[in-house]
């Protein structure tokens, strides 16, 4: 089967769309209303309530005699606008609403009601920014989006606008841009500053026409952006107390024709904008909860790991007893680079009765010759035509004479006391399998250090936790020991997954045995030294683990040791090695969005907090393992390449599993660096 690729395109596209939606939502969320810091005094107010700016100059118009034009900015607002509309209807009065486009998108029904009841709409930008300081393209965008939103909601076009913070001189820049887009600017005669909430009396006094004035002029009020109860009350009093004036819309007041119908294009764009804004709001909310959830899970996991590791590390150490003959089985396929070092390190072990069996699985690089050439009488060499690692292991197990079986990868170098320490837990007759402690031999370079840290954390935090919880999902193929009986109960080494070590461990647990961790049984292994090699290795591990977990899914409902594996181990794997990595790309998209839209200190605080926690956990794991802490500086850097590689592997594995292709075993190209370790340690 062809390796699936289309999902990468989907992932990229999804990430881009998500980022764009988040950015749109972030842009909209910035919107507010008049308020905050007080604006400069009205002395700077430019002339003329209705301004027509063209290259030849500014012409103005005012409200006709006998009329008063109430205007409401910053709405529509679901709480206050309907009350004002009710009052206006009650008094057969008309007014003008300078609406904020993003609010129109949120409350299209309300916007339609404004128009349906004979009032006029004006543009008050999309997000109510202080536009005077913004570049012209941003000013135009704010106008366009609002025009679209109004067209989408009401099917009408709008030709009047009022810039936010219109009482400032900076607003004139916006007025000029708006004129270029075809808008008349509507400023005000009477700014009530009702948003300061100085009391209903103050608002009414500011709005009331001068005694004997011919025209009531344009009165600025606000129906959105905060608590507008005073504005509602002031409106009621104005409508009842101001006698002798007609309450008109701005266009009516200055004798302009009413706005016409919007073109189909604008309506379509407006509806698209509304849908997008709505989708963006839902997406942003969902993302927020995802971040909260995954952060919470990560913190709980870390706490459990550290507490479990502490308890495990304080247990009494295993003794050093003789527990009967141990057979060490080394399956080897093209391991010429490391096999000599592996075998020598095994022969040099201090456990008294050790039998070493190398099973050459049809190597083509002279692996068998190397073993034979070592001339070690205690090493038995078996050869078979290439049949895969599980088959090689089973061949070795069949030939072994010991009751305790140590399974070793052909690229692993054992510490001199590793075999003896590894088998000590078998003193307990309930223990069926023991995991040793694998360490990365080649720790130079960033990739080597990253893997070293990952191994140390994985072994010293995860595995200690699994040991206490009696739910160890994997005894690593690099250094693990099995009781012959347990291996037989599991039906030998299974060959139907890519991760035979995980599969075997799960089968042993489900057969009723315990699996424990011997931290002091140390072996060094060669870690992939290129991203490509690492990708292949992790793909095999991840896909194999998924296969094994699926194969043993019935453990979820079992009793006893199998149930513990199912409900603790499998759930842990599903949550932290599948579901969270699958959502990790979304978290990264959110991080990019955060860099653009969230306050820098907030992003920095979250990032530093998380990195500090990771560094502390890694430092604790290193200390448990008596490893130097100097590689800790690479932890913050894991966020950029390593993290992505690890989660993209899970994506690839999940897609491959869903599509159901056959996966080939992808062997790693060995360079012999584990062997180099044996000579230096």
């Amino acid at each position: 089967m062809r390796t699936p690729r289309a999902h990468w395109l989907l992932l990229l596209l999804g990430g881009l769309v998500l980022l764009a939606e988040l950015c749109l939502n972030g842009y909209v969320e910035q919107s507010g209303g008049e308020g905050g810091q007080p604006v400069p005094p009205a002395a700077a107010t430019p002339t003329g309530p209705v301004l027509r700016v063209d290259p030849d100059g500014v012409t103005t118009a005012a409200v006709t005699a006998g009329a008063i034009a109430l205007t409401y900015d910053d709405g529509p607002d679901p709480r206050w606008t309907p009350r004002i509309l009710d009052l206006l209807r009650e008094h057969h009065a008309h007014a003008t609403f300078f609406v904020v486009g993003s609010q129109v998108n949120r409350y299209p029904e309300l916007t339609r009601r404004i128009v349906a009841e004979g009032h006029e709409l004006g543009v008050h930008t999309f997000t109510h920014p202080d536009l005077g300081a913004e570049p012209a393209w941003r000013q135009r965008l704010e106008l366009t989006l609002t025009q679209n939103a109004i067209a989408g909601a009401t099917g009408r076009t709008v030709r009047i606008m009022r810039p936010p913070y219109s009482s400032t001189t900076a607003a004139m820049a916006t007025v000029r841009t708006a004129a270029g887009e075809g808008y008349l600017a509507v400023l005000t005669d009477r700014d009530t500053e009702d948003w300061r909430r100085a009391g209903v009396d103050a608002i009414v006094d500011a709005a009331r026409p001068e005694p004997g004035a011919a025209s009531g002029g344009i009165v600025m009020l606000h129906d959105g952006g905060g608590d507008r109860s005073q504005t509602v009350e002031a409106t009621r009093r104005l409508l009842t107390e101001v006698r002798g004036y007609r309450f008109v819309t701005v266009s009516e007041g200055v004798g302009l024709p009413a706005a016409g119908a919007a073109g189909t294009g604008a309506v379509v764009r407006g509806v698209a904008l509304r849908w997008t804004q709505t989708a963006a709001r839902w997406l942003a909310a969902a993302m927020w909860w995802l971040i909260v959830l995954s952060t919470g899970l990560a913190l709980v996991r870390l706490a459990v790991q550290v507490l479990a590791a502490r308890r495990h590390a304080r247990r009494a150490p295993y003794g050093r007893r003789y527990l009967g003959r141990v057979s060490v089985i080394v399956p080897a396929f093209n391991e010429a680079a490391n096999i000599a070092a592996t075998v020598r390190s095994l022969v040099a072990n201090d456990y008294p009765d050790t039998e070493i069996i190398v099973v050459d699985d049809g190597s083509t690089d002279g692996t068998a010759g190397i073993v034979r050439g070592l001339g070690l009488p205690s090493v038995h060499l078996l050869q078979q035509t290439n049949a895969g690692k599980p088959a090689a292991l089973n061949t070795g197990v069949a030939a072994a004479r010991g009751d305790l079986l140590v399974l070793v990868d052909g690229d692993t170098v054992f510490a001199p006391d590793a075999i003896g320490r590894l088998v000590q837990p078998f003193a307990d007759p309930g223990v069926g399998a023991v995991s040793g402690n694998t360490k990365v031999a080649n720790r130079s370079g960033l990739l080597g250090r990253w893997q070293h840290l990952e191994y140390v954390i994985g072994f010293n935090l995860d595995r200690r936790m699994f040991d206490l919880g009696e739910c160890m999902p994997t005894i690593p193929g690099a250094i693990g020991a099995f009781r012959r009986e347990a291996l037989a109960d599991a039906g030998g080494v299974p060959a139907d997954t890519l991760a035979e070590d995980t599969d075997l461990t799960m089968a042993v647990l489900r057969a009723g045995w315990r699996a424990v961790y011997a931290a002091d049984a140390v072996a060094w292994t060669e870690a992939p030294s290129s991203l490509r090699q690492l990708w292949r290795q992790r793909y095999r591990w991840c896909y194999g683990t998924m296969q094994a977990a699926w194969k043993h899914r019935r453990a979820l409902r079992e009793r006893g040791p199998g149930g513990r594996l199912g409900r603790r181990g499998l759930v842990y794997l599903a949550l932290f090695q599948m579901l969270l990595p699958l959502t990790a790309p979304l978290v990264d998209v959110y991080a990019v969005y955060g860099l653009i839209f969230l306050p820098l200190w907030q992003v920095a605080a979250v990032w530093c907090g998380f990195t500090a926690l990771q560094v502390l956990a890694a430092a604790y794991a290193l200390r448990l393992d008596r490893e130097p802490v100097r590689s800790l500086w690479t932890v913050p850097l894991q966020q950029v390449v390593y993290r992505q590689l690890l989660y993209l592997v899970v994506v690839q594995s999940s897609v491959a599993a869903l599509l159901g292709g056959r996966q080939r075993w992808q062997a790693m190209a060995r360079t012999g660096q584990a062997a180099a370790v044996a000579t230096t340690r």
């Binding site: 989907l10 005012a62 989006l145 075809g182 009477r190 025209s215 764009r269 997008t276 599509l659």
Partner: protein
Amino acid sequence: MFVDHTGRRRRLFTVLGAGLGVLLIAGGALLIAGLLGSSPVPLPGLPASGQGGRAEVPALRPETGVSSRPPVVRTTPPPKGATPAAAPTTDQPGNRRTSHPGNGNPKPSRSK
């Protein structure tokens, strides 16, 4: 494990994936469409008459015959005098004055 012998699962997920792709493209298209704007429309003229409603603007152009230039032509704000500050905000109609910064630099008006 996981091998799809009949090919049905593969087909199902290929279709689902294609559906998701279409959905994403539609979402992206909506997003872009919503952000697009129409080209500027001509500035509506203010009514030439209207009781007390008009500012004293001698050089007022006939409304619809004049298409406004985009404001780009005036990159600097008009001189101080262009926006008569301290205009009393009392509402005597017609008390507003506007001077014409454009007069010193007349732009030819395009006629339709």
